[in-house]
Symmetry: C2
């Protein structure tokens, strides 16, 4: 499978959604020329990463959300997918009929049809307004916890799982999808280079991003493709390092810029089988009777022995 990642550089407050769609379509063309059958775009791709801003006014908030997908503004992306025969993953802020907000991603096939939806489960940040921080991280205010689980969807003879941003740091994310025979996990992210909670060395944001992708790809025998929105959005810097990771745990492609950039590999999905049949042959080696705390506890508690 020709597997591409379309990393987006900064989307500033003043940038229109239509202008972003244009950039996405241009990257889809680029990816197609380089042999891609599928391209992964970022989380909340159509707008700036708005959870960094405190907003009270519902109309102001809702301008960042989509109540239909596709819609007039995003339709050209779906048209391009159908014209080029390229499937894609993209993230956006979804507003339901019941006025519930989700941090959502969709899987679109090469006819431009939506075949899978995921709503982010591991929402980072906080819901309250913090005063002593350089910016907010209000995902817990603007979004509800995803209610669709970690689904796995058949597309182009491959089993796709989806997750979003912070989900990629939680091993449960990948494991639940691997237990449904996922062969590839696709995700988008917006990761500020500054941690507002403690003085985390900036390099760690990239280090921990990459080792999370690598170890979880390996430990589940699947491909992982991750697309950043990055660079400086109105002065707020986010990391790049979009990457495609093989089931060996190795990074086989990585972006070098913090701007719009396409990376593309020929991904041999059968490579994962070597891991799933031997070292990670789940049915031979897993011992769920010893994993119970994973579902019985939410937070950490006392030793049980």
């Amino acid at each position: 499978m020709g597997l591409a990642v379309g990393q987006l550089g900064a989307v500033n407050l003043q940038d229109s959604k239509a202008s972003v769609v244009k950039r996405l379509v241009a990257m889809m063309h680029d990816a197609k020329k380089r042999g891609a059958d599928f391209i992964v775009f970022p989380e909340l791709a159509f707008t700036t990463f708005f959870p960094r801003y405190w907003m009270d006014n519902e109309d102001e908030i809702h301008q960042y959300f989509e109540s239909a997908m596709p819609n007039d503004v995003t339709q050209p992306l779906f048209d391009a997918a159908a014209a080029l025969g390229v499937g894609f993953y993209i993230g956006y802020a979804e507003l339901t009929e019941d006025n519930i907000g989700y941090n959502t991603a969709i899987l679109v096939n090469k006819s431009g049809k939506i075949v899978g939806k995921y709503r982010k489960i591991h929402l980072p940040g906080h819901a309250d307004r913090k005063e002593s921080v350089p910016f907010q991280h209000l995902e817990k205010k603007y979004f509800s916890v995803g209610d669709l689980g970690f689904g796995v969807f058949e597309l182009m003879d491959a089993k796709f799982g989806m997750c979003i941003c912070n989900d990629r740091r939680w091993p449960e994310t990948y494991r639940v999808m691997a237990l449904q025979s996922a062969e590839i996990v696709v995700l988008g992210y917006n990761t500020p280079s500054v941690n507002i909670h403690w003085n985390e060395p900036v390099h760690l944001r990239t280090t921990t991003h990459l080792i999370s992708l690598q170890a979880n790809a390996y430990q589940n025998g699947l491909w992982v493709a991750a697309a950043a929105k990055c660079g400086s959005e109105d002065g707020h810097h986010m990391i790049g390092s979009s990457a495609i990771v093989a089931p060996t745990g190795e990074i086989v492609a990585r972006t070098l810029t913090e701007e719009d950039e396409v990376i593309c590999v020929q991904a041999d999905l059968s490579l994962g089988e070597l891991f799933r049949q031997h070292v990670f042959n789940f049915s031979k080696h897993r011992r769920p009777e010893h994993y119970k705390l994973i579902v019985e506890r939410t937070g950490a508690g006392n030793p049980i022995n």
Copy 2:
């Protein structure tokens, strides 16, 4: 905490257990001089990695096992711990009164007293005799699956978890211990550099070893210290790269040889708190209602959506 790893070079078939104990005691002295309060020794430390050999005769098999710990041969190690005031972790083949074999590790305090025991849960390899392979990997023949769970033990004002070798590649291992507030996970391993099941590039054995330690240390906000038995045991080569990993996911010490070698760091256990209180604040962010497949399924199955 002064945290050391005592890596063992090869232990050949002809090497006596007493000679190995001497090497372990020498490394404990070295570690003490370098400020260690605790030292991690390898899996099945007292003998060669005997699961590579097919044996039918019970007496022949049992010479690799210990039916008491400590015993006459291993007592000098416990005496040295008490004399130096250094705690340790070590792995050995345990034979119970009921004649059951386990791949076992113990936690010993600085008075030389055993304060915790773990029996390996993720046993790799096979129980049958394979003909077309360069050597056997008979852990499933010689050992039963551990029956003690992934316990967490208080020692030197720190909460220790233990695992063994292949366990380190399974994210469930660390998560179950982190949910019991583990601050440090210690482990030993014997990892052949050749994969008998497929033509795995040799470098991957080390790559996947390290990314597993790194990502799981980070994703659980804990220290990981891992000790190899390595080098060429009667012609059978095993990887080194014993390592100490911080809760940042960074390797802070790593062996350079494939011989007896001590590495030692001053490990700030409170570093993990920064992760456990923010990005990995389990009680705020985990969603066990979406993790159920982890305990409901052993092997991989069909998508549930």
